[in-house]
């Protein structure tokens, strides 16, 4: 953490029976870590076992015979549809969907936050409140009307349609994050720049954007996770050439009849989750820092 942010623990007295309480502290933390890691452990362990070992054995035990075949199978030969393609082609669809969706919704969120904090107009709170409420709408109820609009726009069944839907339903969150962040940003700087004749976009680009790093991280992580993991929109609004990986994973896992290859399912699930997992592991540190710098302040 940055040096100027002192932790609460700094204030603790240094003379307490330190070693004992430390040991207790670590024990508790390790117990929690086990609770959190258990499902991941189950998934990983069972993704490197032959199927016979899963059917006959205990799901918590380590494999007697290690194999990477389920991973290979999930990636390029598992049955997703009529052809046994594995998850591979769908991975690309998800990337093509998630990158523009996250980029556009983040940019729009930043601009919205900028306007809502630095260019206030009468009724700006109501506008913000109305936008924020969008975060809370259950997605099941918007399926049918959204389909109608996508059809009218001529982008039903395409990746563009999915991008549009994810941008729209992500706007509430991205606007919220940036608005709360910019709320704490000194307005005097903006006013001074205005006096100097800087334009709307120039102020945004030169003054606000350079210090927006933490909140961009939070927003991108949040949006990336939500868009990547979405199943409902992905299934409903994607045609033959736009199916995201979650839909493919569902086809792999939820096939109606036939032998369930659980090892392949878990390997596939881990493959599908890899991008988000990596994002959380690599950027998790910045995530907390970003939340700290404004997102949790109401």
């Amino acid at each position: 953490m940055t040096a100027q942010v002192a932790t609460v623990a700094d204030a603790r007295s240094e003379s307490s029976p330190r070693s004992l309480s430390r040991a207790l502290l670590y024990t508790v933390l390790i117990l929690f870590a086990i609770y959190y890691l258990l499902p991941l452990f189950i998934m990983v362990v069972n993704s490197v076992k032959p199927l016979s070992e899963i059917q006959g054995g205990n799901m918590l035990s380590l494999p007697a015979q290690w194999t990477l075949e389920p991973w290979q199978k999930a990636w390029n030969e598992a049955q997703i549809g009529v052809q046994a393609t594995g998850l591979q082609p769908y991975f690309l669809n998800s990337i093509l969907m998630v990158v523009p969706a996250v980029a556009i919704s983040t940019i729009l969120g930043a601009l919205n936050g900028y306007v809502l904090t630095k260019y206030r107009f009468p009724g700006h709170k109501i506008v913000f409140g109305l936008m924020l409420f969008a975060c809370f709408i259950p997605f099941q109820i918007v399926l049918i009307p959204t389909a109608r609009i996508l059809g009218a726009l001529g982008i039903a069944g395409t990746i563009y349609g999915l991008i549009l839907v994810h941008v729209v339903y992500g706007l509430g969150f991205t606007t919220l994050y940036f608005r709360n962040y910019y709320e704490a940003f000194p307005t005097e700087l903006v006013r001074a720049a205005q006096v100097d004749g800087a334009s709307f976009f120039k102020i945004f680009y030169r003054i606000l954007l350079p210090s927006s790093g933490p909140i961009i991280v939070v927003t991108v992580i949040w949006q990336f996770t939500n868009v990547w993991n979405d199943f409902l929109f992905g299934a409903s609004f994607s045609g033959p050439n736009a199916m995201p990986i979650t839909v493919a994973l569902n086809n792999l896992v939820n096939s109606s009849t036939g032998v369930k290859e659980y090892n392949v399912h878990f390997a596939g699930a881990l493959l599908a989750a890899l991008p988000t997992l990596i994002v959380y592991i690599v950027a998790g540190r910045f995530f907390v820092r970003g939340l700290m710098s404004g997102a949790v302040k109401g």
Partner: protein, 420 residues
């Protein structure tokens, strides 16, 4: 001004997507929504794909698995609402009728007349594929649900034979239970509970009662003493399942019978694929029999490909697809893999195993006797609302939420409410 540019680019991206979104036109293609994504099913469907390819038709696959097609039906709603229906969609039972009533399905009568569908497809199936006298869907197969699957070794060791009636079934199950094994392998999911219910209603009340209660939804039949007896028998069967049954997938229940941990499973003919997949042979390792007391009747469900109204440029391919589905060679090769009987009665049974031959013969017998009846559990007896309302009661009773007495009353009121 780079920021302006970035914003403009994003705006252009959003706007231009409307133009770029128009699908490229292939020469001939079919866009098929289905939920057959497991190895065997997909392999079977792949035969159709290859047949069409030979005729120059490109297959665009839209697989959406989950919930026995429920997920796919949600997707279908979105696509039809968007004005972008698939060429064909896999569909079950009354769904075909419901979609036809919306006026979105196309007319296949010319093709049906040319290829003699009226004569070769059983009348009981036709009532699902035709809407007001017009063919709107091409049936692929005929599954039947009143089967029991027996681990032969477990039965042999206890000196048991395939039961022929309810009492023999109970005697057999008692013996297995006493031996310490699980007598009845079952997965507690509403549709599986209902699959058993189908057979018990038929075995208890006979085809007349089945039709009156589950197809005509006659309140007197639903509320009758016979129905109470059905629920009592369900409770009896409940006593033979292991404590761990709820939520179990049906194929895991099959695996219990395959391994010999359990003796009997009551399940449709798709279960056969599990046994064959595990390398077991019909007649030597496992037995397939009609649910005791239902020989001579067949409760069926049929997978259909409903054909949607599509643009003129896609109609030729659509007709080719419908014709390819009803091709007897395809019907045979598909259903051998799928475990079902062909939807046409003029398909040779030469390629089928013993269970498959029996299924084909049973269908013919039942059709002649008028006892080829739609399965409630699989949406071929009553429409979705009523079916699910019945599921609630059946599952509730099976899990002990209702006594048989209460269940009968609940059944009558649930059906009445769902019929509105």
């Amino acid at each position: 001004m780079k920021a302006t540019k970035a914003y403009l680019i994003s705006a252009v991206l959003l706007g231009s997507s409307a133009l770029a979104g128009a699908p490229a036109l292939a020469q001939e293609r079919v866009d098929v929504l289905h939920w057959w994504t497991s190895g065997g099913e997909a392999a079977a469907l792949n035969v159709l794909k290859e047949n069409l390819k030979k005729q120059g038709v490109d297959w665009q696959d839209v697989p959406v698995a989950g919930g026995g097609g429920e997920q796919a039906m949600t997707v279908l709603r979105a696509r039809v609402t968007a004005g972008d229906p698939p060429t064909a969609s896999q569909m079950l039972g009354f769904d075909v009728q419901d979609w036809a009533a919306q006026g979105v399905l196309t007319d296949l009568n010319a093709l049906a007349a040319k290829e003699n569908w009226d004569k070769n497809i059983p009348a009981a199936l036709q009532q699902f594929s035709k809407y007001k006298g017009t063919w709107v869907a091409a049936p692929v197969n005929l599954h039947s649900t009143n089967w029991i699957w027996i681990n032969k070794k477990v039965f042999d060791d206890l000196g048991l034979k395939a039961p022929q009636n309810w009492d023999e079934l109970i005697t057999a199950l008692d013996k297995v239970k006493a031996s310490g094994k699980t007598a009845l392998a079952h997965g507690g999911q509403p549709w599986q509970d209902a699959t058993i219910f189908d057979s018990v209603v038929m075995a208890t009340g006979g085809p007349e009662f089945y039709k009156k209660a589950l197809i005509d939804l006659d309140p007197a039949a639903l509320g009758s003493d016979t129905m109470k007896k059905v629920f009592e028998r369900m409770t009896k069967l409940r006593s033979y399942v292991d404590s761990n049954f709820s939520g179990r997938d049906w194929n895991l229940a099959s695996a219990m019978v395959i391994r010999g941990d359990a003796a009997v499973q009551i399940m449709g003919d798709w279960a056969k694929g599990e046994f064959l997949g595990a390398g077991k042979k019909p007649g030597t390792d496992f037995l397939c029999a009609r649910f005791p007391g239902t020989q001579g009747t067949v409760m069926f469900n049929t997978d259909q490909f409903a054909m949607f109204k599509v643009g003129a440029n896609r109609q030729a391919a659509q007709q080719k697809m419908a014709a390819a589905i009803e091709d007897p060679t395809f019907q045979s090769s598909f259903n051998v893999v799928k475990g079902s009987a062909p939807a046409r009665t003029d398909v040779s049974d030469a390629a089928f195993d013993d269970c498959g031959k029996k299924a084909i013969a049973d269908v013919k017998e039942a059709e002649a006797k008028g006892t080829l009846l739609g399965s409630l559990a699989h949406g071929h007896a009553a429409r979705a609302a009523v079916k699910n309302a019945m599921y609630d009661v059946i599952t509730g009773e099976f899990n002990g939420d209702y006594t048989p007495d209460q269940a009968v009353k609940e059944l009558v009121s649930a059906v009445a409410s769902a019929k509105q």
